[in-house]
Amino acid sequence: MIVVIDYNVGNVKSVCNAFKHIGCEAKLSREAGVIENATGIVLPGVAAFGYAISSLGPLAGLIKSMALGGKSLLGICVGYQMLFESSSEYGRHKGLGLLGGNVGPIPPGRVIPHMGWNLVELPEDMDLFAGLGNEKHFYFAHSFCAAVTDIKAKIAYANYGFKLAASVQKANIYGTQFHPEKSGKTGLKVLHNFADICKKQEKKN
């Protein structure tokens, strides 16, 4: 079963609701014993980075070691940002360091937060976007963004007057700056794809 990490930030339930709606089993939990047995992990998040990473507490280490061990992991929004090395949102905070790169403010000269539906170009070789074609709109709501330096990462970009890394995949580690659970039918398809990825990964193990 997919486990959605429950760590005292907003919007964790929406992700579970979305999985339920598409007929996938997902459990909300913060218990190490439950998380250890997950077929895949979703790290959601509506929060400021510093608050989110400190609320994660000791679960951060567990999630990191499971991801390094090959468990499928999907980070969403701040959950995605936490996959990187650090963030400068309200102070300096260390991330999980699973992806190379840092999180900083969206460059000025445009409306911030970046909030609403933005077109994302979908590379063919990113598993999360299987069956979705070349480009789709997704819902974003954020003021900070990741500058990806990881040469092993595949990146889907959105154009917001600059190249915004909207989604990243490195082996079994996935992240979306946008909210698939709030991106209507397109977003539900992304979650469905992640559930399929987890199933395939389980069969291999």
Binding site: H21, V46, A141, S143
Partner: protein, 254 residues
């Protein structure tokens, strides 16, 4: 590039959606969960739910409503009405809301926006402003609180700019003069505010025709248009609105 957003607004009283004119003469418009799910399926970009009575009793109902909506709606939605504390914001976000709007409490407690932004990120924090044209100062608008019943001396444009500084990530700007009239948005107001801030502004109050939506975006500079009467009473579908705007060159998620 971001698309412009179409946002149906559901004013809720006792678990029913209602809609009035100039904040008065409320008329029943249906079940909030059903209506929300319908708009989500039809391709609305977002929803706003406002608890317009905002009593202690209704606040409990609104949390339950948010939970039910979140089970059926897979687009972002904002909840507002009578919210006074970071704890209440937390509860609503945890119940499934994407954003929370604050109105009266932001006037009464200037720290609320900043506290909420630091904890949840400013993208969750919407400053709702009910604006009324000032009788004494032409070309100015005054902030009204307590569901529009109490005018203050605060200038709307200044208040919007201060809201942005304090940590609001978006402004929901309602013209009380235009609300429910279907005579068009107050685009002078919209323009004055969108010129003064760098955060997204949702224009609200007065939508009656498809052209009104276009005008609020082009003349008013709005990032999103909110409407109630014209969708609830089925004058136009979400698709009709989006196709009209797209055909006139406005970027839409269609």
């Amino acid at each position: 590039m971001l698309t412009k957003r179409i946002i149906p607004c559901l004013d809720v009283v006792d678990n029913r959606v209602v809609k009035g004119v100039n904040f008065l003469n409320l008329r029943d418009a249906g079940d909030p969960v059903e209506l929300g799910a319908r708009y989500s399926d039809e391709g609305a970009d977002e929803l706003v739910f406002l608890d317009i009575t905002a009593t202690i009793r209704s606040r409990k109902t609104i949390v339950e409503l948010v939970e039910k909506v979140a089970e059926n709606v897979f687009i972002p939605f904002t909840v507002g009405g009578g919210i006074q504390s970071v704890e209440q914001i937390d509860e609503l976000l945890r119940s499934g809301a994407e954003k929370v709007s604050v109105n009266t409490a932001a006037v009464a407690n200037p720290n609320l926006l900043a506290e909420a932004a630091q904890r949840f990120g400013n993208q969750c924090v919407v400053l709702a402003i009910d604006a009324r044209r000032s009788k004494d100062r032409p070309g100015k608008w005054q902030v009204c609180v307590k569901a529009g019943s109490e005018p203050t001396d605060i200038d709307v444009v200044e208040w919007a700019a201060r809201g942005e500084e304090s940590g609001a990530g978006e402004i929901l700007l309602t013209s009380m003069d235009a609300d429910g009239t279907k005579a068009g948005y107050d685009n002078e107001l919209n323009k004055a505010v969108t010129d003064a801030v760098n955060i997204p502004v949702i224009a609200s109050g007065g939508a009656g025709t498809l052209e009104h939506l276009y005008d609020a975006i082009i003349d008013g500079g709005a990032d999103a248009v909110l409407m109630a009467s014209i969708t609830h009473f089925e004058n136009y579908t979400i698709t009709q609105m989006k196709e009209y705007l797209r055909d006139r060159g406005v970027p839409m998620n269609l």
